[in-house]
Assembly symmetry: C2
Homo-oligomer: 645 residues x 2
């Protein structure tokens, strides 16, 4: 199978009204902020100790290891983020710092290639004895992703060489001859190895990724054996009683049909499965990916593109079990969902996968970071009532305001690297054929075998659905432009050089021929605010509606609507949109009318009685879900009750 290619982020210049605020945050705020945290330079923030761990492991400092076993990944994801930013624009300050960190990683590397500060400082001699919980391969995978990105960004190969030595070690240790049953407790190494293969051409890395995947779920159970070894000791008490579904090793991957277990582990695995399916032309495996994607997206995904509803073990539960309050919906799981979906789109050229990636990007992933770039959500419910988010209760995982950092800090740097690599989701290329997935103002410059092409796109999407595209193709270039018509677009018009065009939709893409020279394409999609209802199998949402515009899910906030948001009923025919140039840095808001159940009649303390409900007319205001809690803390609600006619 032929996969659509990504275009190097170096050739994609995004300059977009909607996205700039976040993309510019990354170099201006997020990278410096996270750097300060990695170096423990901030007060009142959870200790990171990540850089010190590397310094201690490198023998440059005395001290104890601090943090989670996977603390190194915060450094890896930071380096990966810096790499993507360097692809967008040169920055000698951060490049220098990155070089220093890479140097430090090199110094912390063992003679045989091994890198991991936890097992270097704290559990020397125990390396690779606890794959179930030790996260060494997970950490390695993130370092590999960073190394390949840094190589692409700078052309410097030191980090890549460091990681090749580690990858070679991993391939030796975990070969079929040496440890043919072993696989990691948290998937990620597979994604790293595939990227290492793509950058180095060393097929051994790809094959090792495939082996790790194929070994999962084989009998006898590897983890069962591992925990019986005298070297094993429990790292995570909550994993004492271990359900193999947790890390998707309950069945061989090819027999899996439902998204199960820890949602981040699952999506990272599925993404790697897609990579391997494409690389090996493995149609059977691709089918498995399709089945898993479909189960996850149709039965276990929130409207906001988030997954994994259980707070305990951050995991999938049963089909259609999607409570809106107290759910987990980890930011990293939505990133995993986008990663997997994008790969499926590249392999199948089917835009439905990008519908989901777009949903995750515009909603949960963006909600994960504040507009200042300095605070983050790990958990993303669709309904929040702050007084109930109490520590030491069943709601303790829900934070009603974004946090400065976390003890387990996977999400903030993951969001940063995802934003910095937004271009990977924007457009795919196959020779002179281009697939435009996201609509944002950008300039993409591509070299093909037959010449150069420049694609310029202008839009104020998602505020409106008008998109202007100018393509300048060298003589000799001819191919096709595939424009994704999102699943939420019912009406659209398309014109080329002023000539209206009606063209075939192929797997969600409108296909236009491209000839040489300069051509102006205009796509106008209707993006009215719309009412969304839920399959009644999702019992929480029966009698409720959500408001969307394009891929953007809207929500009500206490700040605009007063308290007790569940007391509102929305008239579904009343939606009106309005662009507010000031609010939240400029955004389309949606207003509606309906009623609110009043509490006046219940001013007494009486909890239950026979009172008829008293409803008064009310105006409802909605803002993008991604922007909630960027003014002051308060209630938030996505699924609002529908006024019955």
């Amino acid at each position: 199978m032929e996969k659509l290619n990504l275009i190097s982020l170096k050739d994609i210049k995004i300059n977009d009204g909607f996205w700039n605020r976040y993309l510019n945050l990354v170099p201006k705020e997020v990278i410096p902020y996270q750097w300060a945290i990695l170096n423990d330079q901030l007060q009142d923030v959870e200790t990171s100790h990540s850089i010190r761990n590397f310094r201690i492991a490198a023998g440059l400092e005395e001290g104890e290891f601090y943090g989670a076993v996977f603390q190194d990944t915060d450094v890896a994801k930071w380096l990966e983020t810096v790499s993507y930013v360097l692809m967008r624009q040169k920055d000698s300050v951060w490049e220098e710092r990155a070089d220093e960190v890479i140097d430090l990683i090199g110094k912390a590397q063992w003679d045989d290639g091994y890198i991991n500060t936890y097992y270097t400082i704290k559990e020397k001699g125990k390396r690779f004895t606890n794959l179930r919980e030790g996260h060494e391969l997970y950490t390695a995978g993130h370092l590999m992703e960073a190394a390949t990105a840094y190589y692409e960004a700078t052309g410097k190969d030191r980090f890549l060489h460091i990681m090749c030595r580690f990858a070679d070690l991993i391939c030796d240790v975990f070969s079929e001859e040496n440890r043919k049953d072993a696989y990691p407790g948290h998937q990620e190494i597979e994604l790293g190895l595939v990227k290492m293969y793509e950058k180095t051409g060393n097929r051994r890395y790809l094959e090792q990724a495939r082996l790790f995947l194929e070994r999962r779920g084989q009998q006898p159970d590897f983890f069962e054996k591992e925990i019986k070894s005298p070297e094993y000791h429990l790292i995570f008490p909550e994993l004492k009683e271990y359900d193999p579904r947790y890390s998707q090793c309950h069945l061989p991957m090819r027999m899996q049909k439902k998204a199960e277990g820890h949602a981040v582990r699952a999506t990272y695995m599925y993404a790697a499965m897609a990579d391997v399916a494409a690389a090996y032309d493995d149609v059977e495996l691709l089918k498995v990916c399709e089945t898993l994607w479909r189960n996850m997206v149709c039965r276990k995904m929130y409207l906001t593109g988030s997954i994994g509803s259980s707070g305990i073990l951050e995991r999938f539960t049963t089909d259609y079990d999607l409570p809106n309050r107290g759910n987990y919906s980890e930011s990293c799981a939505s990133i995993g969902l986008a990663m997997f979906s994008r790969r499926m789109a590249q392999i199948t050229a089917d835009a439905k996968y990008m519908d989901v990636a777009e949903l995750a990007l515009y909603n949960t992933i963006l909600a994960g970071i504040s507009m200042t770039g300095k605070s983050f959500f790990y958990v993303n419910p669709l309904e929040v009532w702050p007084p109930s988010c109490m520590r030491r209760t069943s709601m303790e995982h829900v934070k009603p305001i974004r946090q400065k950092w976390f003890g387990v800090a996977c999400c903030p740097p993951n969001i940063a690297r995802t934003l910095a690599s937004l271009g990977d989701y924007l457009i795919f290329q196959k020779k002179e054929d281009f697939y435009v997935n996201l609509y944002l103002s950008t300039q993409v410059h591509v070299k093909t075998d037959r010449g150069e092409m420049l694609l310029q796109m202008e839009t104020d999407f998602p505020n409106s659905g008008g998109v202007g595209i100018r393509i300048c193709a060298d003589a000799g270039c001819s191919g096709s432009l595939h424009l994704r018509i999102p699943n939420y677009v019912d009406e659209y018009t398309l014109s080329v050089d002023g000539q209206a065009l009606s063209c075939e939709i192929e797997k969600g893409y409108a296909k236009l021929p491209i000839g040489q020279g300069t051509h102006e394409i205009k796509l106008v999609m209707e993006l009215p605010p719309r009412i969304v209802r839920s399959n009644p199998r999702i019992r929480e949402n029966i009698g409720r509606v959500a408001v969307m515009k394009g891929p953007v899910v809207y929500c009500m906030e206490e700040q605009d609507n007063g308290e007790n948001l569940p007391a509102y009923y929305l008239n579904p025919d009343s939606l009106k949109e309005e662009y507010d140039p000031v609010l939240l840095g400029g955004t389309t808001v949606i207003k509606g009318s309906g009623v609110k159940e009043e509490i006046d009649d219940w001013q007494s303390d009486e909890p239950y009685g026979g009172h008829e409900p008293v409803q008064t007319e009310a105006e409802l205001m909605f803002i993008p879900y991604a922007y909630w809690c960027n003014r002051k803390p308060g209630e938030m609600l996505v699924w609002v009750k529908e006024l019955q006619k």
Copy 2:
């Protein structure tokens, strides 16, 4: 303040259509079943080991301690239950067994009076070093409650003497001279000591109860000090990070205004506070009890008389935070609520407290036990969807079917002792004045200073509200009969010897004079099925109604209504009741009409879309909440959506 007295259970013969099935279960099924469990004679049931712990502690067997630190309380509550049953009817078999167990407890007692198998077998030398978690005083309190009950039931004083020796030790160890800052991590000893005082007249026990209560929440914090002692070690990992609210020692008891922390601890404390307030004529303390009761009942209680909504730490959360799915609502907490409420009613002669005790008894406490007497709910949500009650998820504490036993088995024997002592809730006495709280068929025989009185009551409450009462009073007896007019009764008629009577209602009781001779009183309360709504501050219930009849909360079950119960909308004007003599052993069912949102339109997997909801007419059937899951497992729902007019 003068407290209304309980009448000895020996003088109360209950023979009631509604209650017999449960009350008869206790001697026939529950006591033998729990005896078999305490002796580990059943297969497929959680190990108890309770009797063996005592045998080992007594030196009669070799072995290790097994179970929770408070494992002894299962034996104590069993003995208490047997005692209440023996008050109702002689049973030489169980009395003999009880005597053997008491003998065993005596053998396990230390020379200085101490009893506790955990600290005798497993942590010898550590007694009273971990009051925060060790539960020794909690265990002692349950043994004292059992001992006083057994003494009353049989007149045998061996057990009472055993416990006097332990109580004396406790009063010595925890005197103001010796350990003036110490108090238990789980309240219960206070209730036990008060009962010991009532039976022995030894005021020292009462005073010790008061001291334990007064010491809570004083500064410096006792538990903070205790955990710094070299002898201390953590027993419950989940209590490592300790919030003093958990055991209500965040403030001195007199300064507490809100129900906080672990719900069972809280209600046991409040009940003891009421006991102490009455015994010391402490008006200030009684006011505190009233404030706490009001906060708990008006803002933290479910319609079913259950409390403590958080699964994590089994605790109260914030005012009006009462989610219906995934809540905890422990059976024992409802028992504590009933215990506290009954004491408040005894002290204040205010029937509003009995409204709440009755609610807990007819709903959550009864729901806690199956109609076979052999399986139990620990957790009592108001909405259950079995597929979502998955282990190792945020819903893992919710069991969709009653369990045979539990590792921590507080609830089953607690329900048993509560049922066996139902008479304590039925009627209070003050000289020749009687306060009838519950309506059920019974015969109560009382001796007063001036003669004997017999009260016979016949009713098929709660199926109907007709109650016939015959009183035969000796010459010279004259007083008053106070009949509770429950808060859910809007209309009633009252007659004495055929003469209609309109009488004053005093704090919820209709007061009738009683003269000598035989008199027939007829109370007819209207108990139509009714719609109950919720204060809109309880956000979960906005737009929903519940169905009740008298004190009985109704629910929908999948068995009668099909699946997806949240898809129903009930027309609130459509309720009809019907007595079904066969169903669930004979019960009034309530039927209504409305609509159901259909899923036909969504046969595809699509999770979200623009479909208009399709509703079809539907009949809805409701059975008592207490009876749910007595046929086959399935969905259950209390708060059903209300059809908007």
